[in-house]
Structures are given as C-alpha cells and as structure tokens.
Symmetry: C2
Amino acid sequence: MEVDFKEIEVIGFDADDTLWVNETYFREAEEEFAKLLSQFETPNKIDQELFKLELKNLPIYGYGVKGFVLSMVEMALELSNNTVSNDTISSILNIGKDMINKPVELLDGVEGVLEELSKKYKLIVATKGDLLDQERKLEKSGLLKYFHHIEVLSEKQEANYKKLLDHLEIKPKAFLMVGNSLKSDILPLVNLGSKAIHVPFHTTWAHEKVADSDVKNKEYLTLKRIDELLKYLN
Amino acid sequence: MEVDFKEIEVIGFDADDTLWVNETYFREAEEEFAKLLSQFETPNKIDQELFKLELKNLPIYGYGVKGFVLSMVEMALELSNNTVSNDTISSILNIGKDMINKPVELLDGVEGVLEELSKKYKLIVATKGDLLDQERKLEKSGLLKYFHHIEVLSEKQEANYKKLLDHLEIKPKAFLMVGNSLKSDILPLVNLGSKAIHVPFHTTWAHEKVADSDVKNKEYLTLKRIDELLKYLN
C-alpha cells in the first residue's frame, strides 16, 4: 500500500505494548490469579469471568493496575462464594504491587527509532491508563528526553484525540499516530484524517480487539517492528 | 494584607474541597471502615494505622479512591491477623464504589464566581488525583464550560506547576492559584513567583497539613469563602 507521509510534522506514540511490554504482565497476573483460585474453578472459566467483571467495572475503575486488582479481589469473593482465604486476598494485592513495581522493558528498536525521528519530527506520547503508572513508566524508561509532550488519556476515542490535537495546535493531516491497538491507536486517527501506523504486539487484550469489518477500507500501514518506521519517515 | 492582582491573566483552581466536597467523603468512609473492624481495634487506632498505610502505599498507588480502597483491604487483613470475613472485604469494596458514584456537591458560591471571573480571566483547573475520577467529577459538576484547560497532576509540587505554566505559556506573575491546601495549592505557587489565594475547607487530610514555620513570610491571601474572590478580582 502507498501511504504518503510528506505532510507529517508530529508523531504520536502509544506507550503500553508499543514502546514497552505491558500486556504480557497482565496475562501473567491472570495466570497467577487462576492458580490461586484453582480449587474453585477451571482456569478458562476464571479468565472469562474476570474479563466480564473488568468490563463491568471499567466505567467506574478505568484502565490500569489498581482497577484490575480491585476486580480480582471482587472476583475471588464471588467465585469462591465468599469462602476464599485471607491469604489469597493478600496474594492478589501483592500481584498488583509487583505489577506496579516491574521494571520497564523496552521493545526492540524503540530507543533508536525515537532518537532518529526526534531529529526531524516533534514526538509526543498519547497513552491510556493510570496517570501515576504511566508517568512512572516513562520516567523509568529513560525515553522522556525524546518527547515534546506526554498526554495520559482516560479514553482513546476520536473525541479525545481531537481535543488533544486542538490543544497542541496540530493539524490532523500533519499528525501520525503509531501504536499496537487498532481500536485505540489507529481507527480514531484515520477517522480524523490523520495518518496511522499499526505495529501489532503479539498479545492483545480482548477489549482492544476489533472486527475485520471495522478496518475495511481504512487506510493505514502495518509494520512488523517499530524500527521499520525509519524506512518511511526519513 | 495588601496583595496586588493587577498582572493576573490566568486563574487556576484546585478541584477537591475547593470547587466541591471531597474530603468529607473520605472521612465518612474511614468511619465506616472503623465500624466494620470494630471487633479488632478502637476507631482511633484503626484511623492511625490506616493513615500510616496510606502514606506507605502513596508512592505506588498515588492519590484517589482506588488506592484508598486497596489500602483499606490490606489494613483489614493486617489488623485482623488474617481473620477478617469475606463479607467485610466485600463491604470495603462497596465503600469505594459508593465513593466513586457519589454526586458532585458544589461548594457555596462556586458557580457564580466562575461565571463572573470567566468573563475577564482565563480559568484552568489544576487538580491532583485519579485521572478518570477527576474527569468524571468535572463532567458531573456542570462546570466544564468555564474552563479553558483541565490538568490532572500526579503531584502538586513546584516542578509540576512549573511544567504546567511553561506548557500553557503562562508567565508565573500572570498566574493566580486558588485552593484549599497550603501544601499543594499555595506554597509551590508562591515559591514560583505566582499569586495564591487560600480558601480553607473545614477538614484537611493530615498529609496536606503544613507546619506554621513553612508559611512564615510567604505572601498569600486567605479568604473564608470562594465568592470573596470577586472583591479582589473585579
């Protein structure tokens, strides 16, 4: 596919699973959670029920580790019919603390790409999730120096991006967004008239998945690795 | 005291306990929590221990209801020597959900003051806490229309304000901050060379309290009610 990036002045990057590993830690936490509750249900059922509860709680808790942990505690009470041990509750709290304290593991090629692109473009981060979590990860990542602006959004829908571009006085056609989620990083931008490059991560949270019909006729580029960006933007 | 507001162009407002009631809900939650655990400890001891644990967890959980609830669950396990009932854990989760779902109760005079000041000044919100919680409260408050910009900060220290003013291209001496916390809303701004007006709320979280020596020789105005702002800024 031919996509033209001549008008691009500002490049936005998603953070979780675009710059660094994230979803993997949630998958590991879910496995640990299923093990803790294995006397009550099968791992598969636990997974499904936890996902349902997370979605139900999303409007009140939002994205991020803290809401995830609160949902795991609630799920443990429910799945065990209020017979789960205090030790298990305590282990669930510790899963959360461990997640928050994890080191930031950059994805291959990220630092080199940012260094290169920052010479020619204004770079920003547009990420969803918990404000403190995301700021802490950026700090730990050592990548802050490449970015002109950091925006943590409570949602990544078209209206959120529109507000961000307006606020930063960026014309939609001068903006390119790079991210791993079709739903959150690609489609809203294509709809706004910006460019978008999809760099899939090997794991996608079910809530971020989109139907094939949603991406039909949408113009965006998909790359295997983030450092392939340099082929198109140099 | 004579404070001169002639150079002010932009006014920043804290949100919790400046525009609307917040701390009261935390106090009520703590009372409910102490009742739930009354078989294990006195209310006074529970209060003290919970506060200590909140401070210990602050670097990982940050401000806001979710971290508060996680600390209450952890405290319940600890204070009961891991004998607390699942019903009590469930009640703690519900305290948190109720807090998040509370209606927003504006403080006296807020709406009139914002309406009046927005005619002459650019108004912004600078609030600390959970991103989603704060956005939701602003939405519910009906006050969004008065504000030019909303900033949710993970901390309210001098460096955070400096970054915000730089980003919005506001000169420190053209900025006035209004809030209920000396530590978070007043002192950092006075140190930056901005103006500040303190409107105390009847309850202050212990973590927000400052020593008398910290405010000595600092120039700021204290008002009893937010609508007294109009006497100085009209």
